[in-house]
């Protein structure tokens, strides 16, 4: 429906100004600078160089592996995560809120640490090996499982957030037309969820497509992704031309993917009947629901909690027994690994994460608000642009910052703000992808209803959209926070020595010999998990006062 005409376009452009500037300054410009530096030699573009790189032997294998492992990881994560999304959206069970926060914990763990846990479970001498002689560490399974481990929360939270708000009567309408439970889900709920499933799939794909640590640790040197190759070319060899060509190749693939995503979602997105999620979840009834709940709890226990438990176990194991020595050691600086006590890394991490979350919410929120209506073509392109940082390697961005932001007024190289800015670059796509499917599902006529009751567009947005996307907003904030808390690749380039973040501190500890260092790394990782889980729990219990009132007495019956 047309609306607002020129005024609408103007408002949208104004809303887009901040994200546009942010994106141009902190992504496009640095990345263009670093790839430009690579592709130009002696003042001329070296295009033949690009051809050489692209036709070099082995590059095809790398490309193929990168793509198929990402596709397989995405499929596996969706397969495991969608039932989980259902369970969290539609079923009530004790401990649900805690578990909802806990599934996000893997997301913030440094890959080295996770790799250790997976090796302990799947590798030589691991649980499976001892019991059944099965080792998964030298195949691709460990990679896929670890990717699922990391990104389970992306599916559960992104899809589950929208699912919880879908009007269950749509599915009932399918049931009375003769569709079985699964058929009703597939034909009615899935299409409604499609934009959100596509968003989650896109995020997972981009993460796994640019996967680095997991591939290195669990795949061993045999497996290389484009990201690994770019990292090696840039960070180790300073072979900028090759790195630039590979970066552009990666960007081109990501752009193609984003195009496909835009095509899928444009057809799938429509206004949906959204309800207050509080009334839509109920205690499980019937065998199928119990089975789904059981299955999901089993997946969470085996895929997520077990590796986490391994880390906790290691952090507590001291000289063959158990104790808190590693935690106590964290409090002092006598180990000398740090200029500051590791405990202070928590404060640093939280501060950076808070700032990064605020930036990501502001930038991503404005972008999502501007992109809510899908009218203009230019906004579609911008939607895709905002996703690009996810598909770009952290070294490229980090080195780009270094050479692009090196002159006043933008000499930010050693300013602390650079860290949250770099982290927000990854957070913004999350905010946009999580918010957009919900914002676009909000029925335009609800905004109209607010308008005829006298609410200005801004007021209508605050009173209608905001409450409906509140859940998505919290999910997005949680992700932005977790991304920032866990980000390593870019942070390690720019975090100051006296203010390391938790993952950086963990990496430093792991980089040194000695049981105490290792134990402290595990202890600090455990602290990182707790920080993440507690913050998300706190975040999710945020509830505007107006919300508390109207919820009494519901939720105990089944619609």
């Amino acid at each position: 429906m047309r609306r607002g005409g020129r005024r609408g376009v103007a408002v949208r452009l104004a809303l887009l100004a901040v994200p546009l500037a942010f994106f141009a300054l902190f992504f496009a410009y640095p990345v263009a600078a670093i790839t430009g530096r690579g592709l130009r030699a002696d003042g001329a573009w070296q295009l033949s160089r690009a051809l050489d790189v692209l036709t070099a032997p082995g590059i095809g294998d790398v490309l193929w592996f990168t793509l198929w492992q990402a596709a397989a990881s995405t499929a596996l994560t969706l397969a495991l995560g969608l039932p989980g999304a259902y369970v969290f959206a539609r079923l009530d069970f004790p401990g649900k809120r805690l578990l909802h926060a806990v599934v996000t914990v893997p997301f913030v763990l440094p890959t080295v640490v996770t790799g250790a846990a997976f090796l302990a479970l799947l590798g030589r001498g691991g649980l499976l090996d001892e019991r059944w002689g099965i080792r998964l560490d030298d195949g691709v399974w460990a990679i896929l499982l670890a990717h699922a481990f990391f990104n389970y929360a992306v599916v559960v939270r992104t899809v589950g957030g929208l699912w919880a708000q879908l009007d269950p009567r749509q599915e009932e309408a399918a049931r009375v037309l003769g569709a079985g439970r699964f058929a009703a889900w597939r034909r009615v709920t899935l299409p409604a969820l499609a934009p959100s499933v596509a968003a989650a799939g896109l995020l997972v794909f981009l993460f796994t497509f640019t996967s680095f640590g997991v591939i290195q640790i669990l795949g061993g040197p045999r497996y290389a992704t484009l990201e690994v190759e770019i990292y090696r070319r840039t960070a180790q060899l300073l072979d900028l031309p090759t790195a630039a060509v590979l970066t552009l190749l990666q960007l081109a693939l990501v752009a193609a993917l984003l195009g496909a995503h835009a095509l899928i979602t444009r057809r799938a997105e429509s206004a949906l009947a959204l309800t207050d999620p509080a009334g839509n979840a109920a205690r499980p009834r019937g065998g199928a629901q119990w089975a789904l709940l059981g299955g999901t709890l089993a997946v969470i226990a085996l895929l997520l909690l077990l590796p986490l438990a391994v880390l906790v176990e290691r952090s507590l194991s001291v000289d063959g027994g158990y104790g808190l020595a590693h935690y106590r050691a964290l409090a002092g600086t006598e180990s000398g690994t740090f200029v500051v006590a590791p405990w202070e890394a928590i404060g640093t991490s939280l501060r950076y994460a808070a700032v990064a979350t605020a930036i990501a919410l502001a930038v991503g929120g404005l972008a999502a608000a501007a992109l809510t209506r899908r009218a203009a073509r230019f906004t579609r392109g911008f939607d895709a642009l905002l996703m690009l940082p996810l598909g770009t390697s952290a070294v490229t961005v980090g080195f780009g910052f270094l050479i692009a932001l090196d002159e006043p007024p933008l000499d930010l190289r050693s300013s602390w703000i650079l860290v949250p800015l770099a982290q927000a670059l990854v957070g913004v796509p999350f905010v946009v992808r999580v918010l957009l499917p919900v914002l676009r599902a909000v029925d335009e006529r609800l905004r109209e209803a607010a308008a005829v009751l006298g609410a200005s567009p801004l007021r209508a947005w605050r009173e209608v959209d905001l409450p409906l996307v509140r859940r998505a907003l919290l999910v997005a904030a949680g992700f932005a926070f977790a991304v920032s808390l866990g980000e390593f690749g870019a942070t390690v380039f720019i975090a100051r020595a006296d203010a390391p973040t938790l993952p950086v501190a963990v990496a430093r500890l792991l980089g040194r010999a000695g049981e105490l260092n290792y134990g402290q790394a595990m202890a600090l990782s455990t602290v990182l998990m707790l920080v993440c889980a507690l913050t998300l729990l706190a975040l999710e219990s945020l509830r505007p006062a107006a919300w508390r009132g109207g919820r009494g007495g519901r939720g105990e019956w089944v619609v």
Partner: protein
Amino acid sequence: MSGLLTLSAVSVAYGERAALDAVDLAVAEHETVCVLGPSGSGKSTLLRAVAGLTPVDAGTVLLDGRDQAGVPTHRRGVGLMFQDHQLFPQRDVGGNIAFGLRVRGVARAEARRRVAELLDLVGLPGAERRAVSALSGGEQQRVALARALAPRPRLLMLDEPLGQLDRDLRERLVVELRQLFRALGTTVLAVTHDQGEAFALADRVVVMREGRVAQSGTPVEVWRRPADAFVARFLGFRNVAEATVRAAEPVADTPWGPVPVAPGTPRGRRRLLIRPSGVRLAAEGAARAVVRGRTFRGDHVLLLLEPERGPALEAACALVDAPAEGAKVGLAFDAADVVTLPGD
């Protein structure tokens, strides 16, 4: 009775609130039953319980003699048109109507034919490719109706199927639906707030009140002999009062004065209903009243009268005969339109 659907003592509560309270109801095969009742009386809940969408707290739902406890909705073989339609926004009109056919595996060509047929029936020929969000309210309702009709369920439940349609279209549809149901042998349980529709469509009407069945019978029965004051009021009759039927003669003493009743009316204290058409304006009558309001009703005018004695009275009269507001009139009552209520 070969009941296709039998409800025995079915109760449904939402939290503390009882929406159905020990409802007994039987619908015979090929019968069309209309459920009437005030807003919030549990009509939609009744349909949802039969469809298995709302779990039953007590009582049994039998379909074809089989207890439906634990039978999932899609195996009950019933159809339901929702009060708020619940059209699938991602599907176009054709996709919505064909949904029930596709899940049953009806061939594409056959489905397309049936969809076109149904769109003709509901007065939207050629609308297959339209988006449901681009339909007017009444058009959406017609698509929802077509969608419910498409799979030809044995028991079809319709929740306010024609509520948003204009009189002309509604009357045409009532006729065509009756023919269709007869031809297909469909059993129908429909909710409506429109008595005219109920009377026109139904073999039997069921009046609900606060989760219970207040009366059940043929349209004529219910109209002629409302079971109690509630049903009478619900049918729109306001002239209800306590009266004492005299022993000697067929006359009742009412707050408005003596009113003739049908001979053989049992004597004693009863509630009594005078239909508006039974209140006649006479130059000089037993009672006098002032005209306080006039409502134009198309083929008649409804007068609101303030009698000298007794509560307000409604009277129907032809437009040409209708006195002005404020006019003083005499009252007479017509025994044919006076009903003593069995209940209460």
